[in-house]
Amino acid sequence: MNIRVLLLLGALALSSGAAGCQDKPTRWDTAATSTVARAPDAPPVKEAGSFNKFFPADGIDGMKRVYTQEKTGFAEAKLQKDGKDVAVLSISDASGDAEALKKFEGATDKIQGYPLVTVGKNQSSLLVKGRYQVKVSSQQLDEGARKPWLEKFNLSGLAGL
């Protein structure tokens, strides 16, 4: 390795080192030092595995249901047709999560009496028993096509949990 290459390597090391010392502020800085906030007096979040049995059954409308995540207070599955992803289904426990619950205030649309809202353009969310969020998210199904999938969850079973 000749001296010019060495100098170049040195310059690269210095410039990348200098950039590392002065991090520019970003839109994510607040979240970077916090964790998910929940009201301290709220009932504890349900354990992993509590929600799987309330999902729509495998094989409905030719859709394969594949479970993808199972964490504390959260379960997720995806719907696939011919090996391609069609939608993501999820149930999450919003116990004590004021920000998540807020969006259902004043919801006029309902399924089986539970408030229904649209989040962004690709997600429909239903609130069961004032704490369980049942969601269908899809970049292919529109609002009208997502709604029947919400109805395929065992909502009364979930409300009895």
Binding site: R27, A31, T35, Q69, E70, F74, E76, K135, S137
Partner: protein, 296 residues
Amino acid sequence: MSHQPIHKILEELPASNLTTRLLGALDYVVPGQWENVTSWETMIKRVTGEDDQALIQRVGDRAIELYNDPEQGYQRAIQIFHLVDSTQGMAGAAEMANKLSESFDFLSFLGRITPKADTTQGIDAAVKFVAEMATFCYTNGLPGDSVGDFLSSLMAYEKEDSIRFAAWVTFDLVLPLGPDFLAKTLDVLSSATHAELGENSRFARIAKYLPGADLAEKAGLLSSTLAVSSGHITSFVAEKGLDQQDIFQRIKGYVEVGDNALDYVSAAIDMSTNYFEHTGIQSVSRRLISRAYGEI
């Protein structure tokens, strides 16, 4: 907070280096599955398809916050991805040289590359596979029968997960071990003594994160995970037509170590790339964002 936030870890991934170019060369194995996303916002847009900036902010914040809680397992998954791929020795020099030219000339580093014995290669490959299972569980949860559930989700792998699996099969099995890769690996695992396993540096680095009370149980996990998945692995290789010489022809432009030096090419790739860590960080980011979108 001692750890680095996940958005920073993702955004520090290189947009282009030897690892990403080799992964790009594997696009023919899993066409269109992998894109080198190194921006947190872009990853949120890919996962959700949303473009409202306030919504993107909420999803991104929530995902970062979920990662910050060590109890959630995501930090441990990242740690395993890092440890199993921790490239040392020449990697740093290779990275620097790599920045200076599009294709990195390994000839100048040839003296430092030692081809691995089949025993080491077999154990390394098995360790990576068991690490894949462990990171899957830390990231996505711990279902009842973890090996069986891991297998069914392995078959539904996509995006970063699928390119990582393709790279593992290609670079850690078929390229260094040839068509009998599975028999060779299972052979190595059944004949390796616990002392040999204990001396394997990759295994030693991640052993404490693997299920099992002692070394014997952890070693058993290597063979059982691989054995139970062997059908899927061999059909993947057959279906994709993965062939040692064909792979060599496709990637030799990226890794110049002379003709017919398959073992040198494999060793060079192993020493100078971190495909496991690179795609693993992207996988964990994707799963966090998907969960955050479900929870907000």
